[in-house]
Subunit: 202 residues, 2 copies
DNA sequence: TGGTTTACCGAACATTCGGTCAGTTGACAA
DNA sequence: TTGTCAACTGACCGAATGTTCGGTAAACCA
C-alpha cells in the first residue's frame, strides 16, 4: 500500500510540495489504475482533504498529464542524444535499449503509468501519439541494423522492434527498485537474451 | 471502435446469446479499461439498454470474472498436459512458450484483460493469485532447464522467466489477428530471438 | 385461443464521482 | 498586536455510476 504523506514528506509547516503531490498520486494511480482512483483515494494517500488537492493541481487529468510528460520527456531526451545518431546501427540500438531500461528504472512509476494509457481522453491520446513517435524512431533503428548486417536478415524489423521493446516495457510489471537488480544488471540480462540468446555457447 | 451488436449477432428473435454478451463486453473493457467502462458503454456496444444486461449477467464484476476464467482455464489446461511434464526441461519450456503464444492469440481479448488486472476487487485478486501460480510453474521449468544445461548457467532463472514471459505477454499490446502473423509465426520469431539471439550466425 | 415465458425497456434508486467555494487556520512580517 | 496570505477544511453541486424494479411486447406452447 502507498503510505499517506507523513509530516516529514511535507515542507515544514508549509504544506505539500508539488513534487510529493505528483509522486504520491502516481503511486496510487499505478496501484488502482487511473480510472479506478478517486480524488478521495488521492486525498487519503496525501493526508489532506479532497479539496486541498485543487489548491495544488487544476484537476485529476492535469495530474495525469504531468506524470506522463515525466516519462515521455525522458525518452525524447534520449532520442535527441548524439549517441542515438552516430555509429553503427546495431551499436546505437544497443545504446537506446540500455538507456530505455535506465529511464524505465529511474522514472519507474511514470513510465509504468504511460504504458497503461489507452487513449480515454485527449490527454491520453496525446501521450499515445508521442509514444508512437518514439516507437517509429526505434523501428527505424532496427531496420538500419538489419540493413547493415548487425541483426540477422531473416527477421521482420517491425516484429523484432515490438518483441524487443515489449521485453523492455514488461519490466514495469515486476521490477522493484528496493530489492532487485540495478538498471545496468537488467539491461545486461536483457541484451544478452535478445542478442546472444539463452542457449549455452557451444 | 467496437461495433454495436448487429441483428445478425443476435439469435433470431431470441435476443443476445451469453457468448456475444461476454465477447463484446470484453472488447469494450480492453478499449476503455474495466474501470473506465460504464454499464452504459456496454449497453451501447450491445445495442440494448443498460438494464437489459442484468437479464443476462448478475453484474459488471461477474462479467469480468467470467472473462478472466476464459484466459486462466486455457493456461492451466496447458500446464496439465503431459508435454509440460515429460522430456528435457528445455524442450518442455519451449513447448510451454509456444503454447502460451497460441493461447494468447486464440483468446487474445481474454488474456489481454487478464494481464491488466491489478487486484482492485476480490475477483481481480483471485485472478492474480491463479496467474502467480502459473508463473511459479514456469519459473520452475526455467530453473530445471538451467540445471540440465539447456540454458546457459550464468543467468538468474527468476529474471529469465520474467523477461521471457514479459516478451510473450507484451504481444497483447500490439497483435491484431486480422492482418498479422499467425500464432506459430509469432512463436517462431520469439523463440528465435530468446533462445538463439538476434545476432547473425557467424 | 389463452397462458406462460423470454427478453427487454424506462424510470428510478442510492451512492460516488470530479469539482467549487466560502470560510478558517496558523505562520510570519510589520 | 494586528494584518496578510499561503494552505487548507467542510459543506455542497450536478452529473454519472452500478443496480433494481414494474411493466410489456413478442414468441412460444398447450
Amino acid at each position: 500500500m502507498i503510505e499517506a504523506a507523513t509530516q516529514a514528506q511535507r515542507r515544514r509547516g508549509r504544506g505539500l510540495d508539488p513534487e510529493s503531490v505528483l509522486s504520491i498520486a502516481v503511486g496510487v494511480f499505478n496501484e488502482r489504475g487511473y480510472d479506478g482512483t478517486s480524488m478521495e483515494d488521492l486525498a487519503k494517500a496525501l493526508g489532506v482533504t479532497k479539496s486541498a488537492i485543487y489548491y495544488h493541481v487544476p484537476g485529476k487529468e492535469q495530474l495525469l498529464a504531468r506524470a506522463l510528460d515525466r516519462a515521455l520527456d525522458g525518452l525524447f531526451a534520449m532520442v535527441a542524444d548524439e549517441r542515438a545518431a552516430k555509429g553503427a546501427a546495431i551499436d546505437r540500438l544497443e545504446w537506446v535499449v540500455r538507456q530505455s531500461v535506465r529511464i524505465l528504472v529511474e522514472r519507474l512509476p511514470y513510465v509504468t503509468l504511460l504504458l497503461r494509457v489507452r487513449g480515454n481522453s485527449g490527454t491520453e491520446q496525446a501521450a499515445l501519439e508521442r509514444r508512437r513517435e518514439f516507437d517509429r524512431f526505434v523501428t527505424g533503428l532496427v531496420g538500419e541494423a538489419v540493413a547493415e548486417g548487425g541483426i540477422r536478415a531473416d527477421v521482420d524489423p517491425g516484429l523484432v522492434t515490438r518483441l524487443l521493446f515489449g521485453t523492455v516495457n514488461s519490466i514495469t510489471e515486476w521490477y522493484q527498485p528496493a530489492r532487485g537488480a540495478s538498471a545496468d544488471d537488467l539491461a545486461d540480462a536483457l541484451l544478452m537474451m535478445a542478442f546472444s540468446g539463452l542457449r549455452p555457447t557451444r
